[in-house]
């Protein structure tokens, strides 16, 4: 019944020029705002929300969802072209996207990102439509011990997410966890590592940190070699990717999309966790993990698919339970409340029309993003033609404004510069910075839920093993950690015995 309502609504939207116009405007605005460094999807929605005050609820939802979906891809554009992730969800997009730009493959990187984003969004939506009640049931099984286990799983995965020594990557991740805990404790309100300084009391927001670690550090790196090599613009190679190359990555897209949808459906986990796990998983499965971080399309496709699919996932708690799953859906819910439409647990039964409205809006918004996204690729590739001396100064300006804009706090500019220096120093002495960002995302989730679980169990750590999902996740973590050790041990044993056997042979 819901499906037929869905198709009716879809047909209604698709044949109404006014609605199509709204979708187009929303998609273009979302793409542009998302692509401006420092404007996150959350801000794009918040900025444009008042525009919808005068509209009827239906068009308003359509318009807002259109902005939301297109800004998710838009955020990847600045990550790929300038190494400036505009949203937390595009942290991993720059890891392989920016090297592609340096190699003159900016257009291809954008094409991969757009294709993965569209496919991911479709799969996320399909799973939302078909499986929302199931996913909601899955999500309600997640209590504090499960959240803690997911975060631990993510931290274990991070050792697979970067090149070089696993030990060093893990320690960088732990440092990220420490950084994530600076500021007020979310459970006791204790101040931690703040030294009573307002800048530290605010805690480290992810955006200024990653703008510094990736964007500014890159400029500092370029400037230190400026005397010898003032920088050259890369030759723009072919802009679009052969269709067969896209199709051949269907497995990567599928895996990323499933991870994105499931993680997105867990309240509070959010798209940033989804992309990090998708990236780590893809690198772990890859036959050429050493190419990740140097412009491997798989390293771009997996997190992009997960990012877009997590939108479908994050709508699950909103639609099925009436609670926002992450900050972006919280803004969306706020906007719906302005229009007198509060999602609640009875939404499915009470207002199927409204639910199918949301579904149809997501689908059309994805199509509009695809259409306008393709159009935008040719234009945005021109950015790489700007001489590097100019570009670096412009990026430095964007770093300042973007760091400020996320919380409207000048202290975040100092934080951004500090992490820029740290990123520069770390990369000089060969320490990977991506795990640091990883730890910063996962640390607060791990700590808060670990401690809350222990409060529930009155200090007994067995609570993590008593619940099936958390026990399973912890078992996977143990296996993942133990496997390399065991296989190394086995290899050593085999070498010893084959040494003896080899002589016999």
């Amino acid at each position: 019944m819901l499906l037929s309502t869905f198709f009716d609504t879809l047909a209604g939207f698709a044949t109404d020029p006014a609605m199509l116009g709204l979708i187009a405007i929303g998609a273009v605005l979302g793409l542009i705002l998302g692509a401006v460094p420092g404007i996150s999807s959350t801000m794009a929605l918040a900025i444009l929300m008042p525009v919808t005050f005068g509209m009827e609820p239906g068009p308003a939802i359509l318009f807002l969802i259109s902005i939301f979906m297109s800004s998710v891809y838009g955020g990847s554009v600045s990550a790929i072209l300038m190494k400036l992730p505009g949203t937390p969800a595009s942290i991993f997009t720059q890891v392989d996207g920016y090297p592609m730009t340096q190699q003159g493959k900016a257009g291809q990187a954008l094409t991969y990102a757009l294709a993965a984003s569209t496919i991911g969004g479709m799969i996320g939506l399909a799973m939302l439509v078909v499986l929302a009640p199931v996913l909601a049931g899955f999500a309600t099984n997640f209590r504090s011990p499960e959240f803690a286990a997911v975060a631990l799983f993510g931290i274990v995965m991070l050792s697979f997410a970067s090149n070089g020594s696993t030990l060093v990557a893990t320690v960088m991740g732990l440092l990220g966890v420490v950084l994530g805990m600076v500021g007020f404790d979310s459970l006791t309100d204790a101040q931690r590592l703040t030294m009573n300084a307002p800048a530290l009391q605010s805690g480290f927001n992810l955006i200024p940190v990653i703008i510094g670690l990736f964007g500014l550090a890159e400029i500092l790196q370029n400037l230190s070699g400026f005397r010898d090599k003032p920088g050259t613009t890369p030759v723009i190679g072919r802009i679009f990717v052969p269709f067969s190359d896209l199709v051949s990555r269907w497995k990567v897209m599928l895996r990323g999309s499933f991870i994105g949808t499931f993680i997105g459906a867990i309240p509070a986990a959010g798209s940033a966790v989804a992309v990090s796990i998708a990236y780590a998983q893809e690198r772990r499965l890859s036959k050429t993990p050493e190419k990740f971080g140097e412009g491997h399309p798989d390293g771009l496709v997996a997190p992009e698919a997960a990012n877009s699919a997590s939108v479908g996932g994050s709508l699950v708690p909103l639609i099925a339970l009436g609670v926002p799953g992450d900050t972006i859906t919280a803004v969306l819910m706020g906007a719906l409340m302005v229009h007198g439409l509060t999602p609640g647990p009875l939404l499915f039964a009470k207002d199927p029309l409204f639910v199918s409205w949301i579904y149809a809006s997501v689908l059309l918004a994805l199509m509009a993003t695809l259409v306008f996204g393709i159009g935008m690729i040719r234009v945005s590739v021109l950015v790489t033609k700007i001489p590097p001396q100019l570009m670096q100064v412009f990026i430095a300006v964007f770093c300042v404004i973007g760091a400020f804009a996320i919380r409207n706090d000048m202290n975040d500019v100092y934080v951004m510069v500090g992490f820029g220096v740290a990123g520069f120093v770390f990369s000089r002495i060969g320490l990977p910075v991506t795990p640091l960002a990883f730890g910063l995302i996962l640390g607060p989730i791990l700590e808060e839920n670990l401690r809350r679980s222990l409060m529930i169990s009155r200090g007994s750590w067995s609570i993590f093993l008593e619940r099936p999902i958390s026990a399973a996740l912890i078992a996977v973590c143990v296996v993942l950690v133990a496997l390399p050790l065991i296989s190394a041990g086995l290899a050593r044993l085999r070498r010893r015995s084959s040494g003896a056997a080899g002589q016999a042979r």
Binding site: P198, P343, R452
Partner: protein, 328 residues
Amino acid sequence: MKRRHLISSALALSAAIGLAGPAAMAQDAYPAEPIHITVVWPAGGGHDLVGRLLGNELSKVMDTPVVVDNVTGAGGTTGMRHVADADPDGYTIGVMGLHAISQSFMNANAPTMEDVDPLVYISDDPGALEISADAGIDTLEDYVAAMKDDPMALMNGNDPQGGNSFVFANVIPKGLGIDMMKLPYPGHAPTVTALLTGEVQTATLPIPPVLEQAKAGTVKVLGVASEERHPQLPDVPTFKEQGYDIVTGDFVMIVGPKGMDPAVKKTLSDGILAAAQSAAFTEAATSNGMVLRAGGPEMAAAELTTQVDTVYPLLLDAGLVAEGLERE
């Protein structure tokens, strides 16, 4: 008819983008610039909603653009500092609640209540006690009996120390004569989620975040801590009706920095009051569970004093008042 939507939204858009914006306005007449409403919590929350709805009406009343700035961090302190330190020119105001009072005693960097100027009182936000439908308890009486039997039987979800539902979680059990196991969650939405997943059985949230759940019956409100019943839940009795003298609540008010020109302050507070009493704001706010009780600067100042006097002993009692911030 639908075409009209498109045109009107296109107009609204261009207005928002500033194409049709008022470029040349007299410099001496207030307001000549956009008014910025500071919200100290992230976009999407209750205060954000108040800021945006009120801002929309205020821009009509004052005939100037109104912008909402989410200045977040440090439990709301960064944003309150932003308001208190702003030029008192009438272009920066902030949405404030109980959190600012708590922080002013808990954090030496937070502005005190003497550093801000109350402009307009918007609404009461009474505390309440909710229980998950799965817990199988329907009345306050049964709940009190169960808790007296075994204080560990039902766990309560609330804010970290200093947040409004933490204050409620201290006041309500005291009034009921029970002990409560308090589990902290960072914010109202995670608390509601915990209530739905069954990690906690009760919560001491104010009404707006649980309104839809209460209407749907997945969450049952056992009592409201106000003098009168909540307008959106007329069937739910107050604690007083059930024989417990518990009245506690958060509030929403608009404040500005100290030292505004009296004429500017008058224009501004009159404008905000008119916006808060406008039909559009009243309707939207009421349907989202706010209990509106708009009043001008004098009332706001009086209410603020009362709230400080109520909250301070609670914080002192819980050992949350930081060294050097004690009142004489």
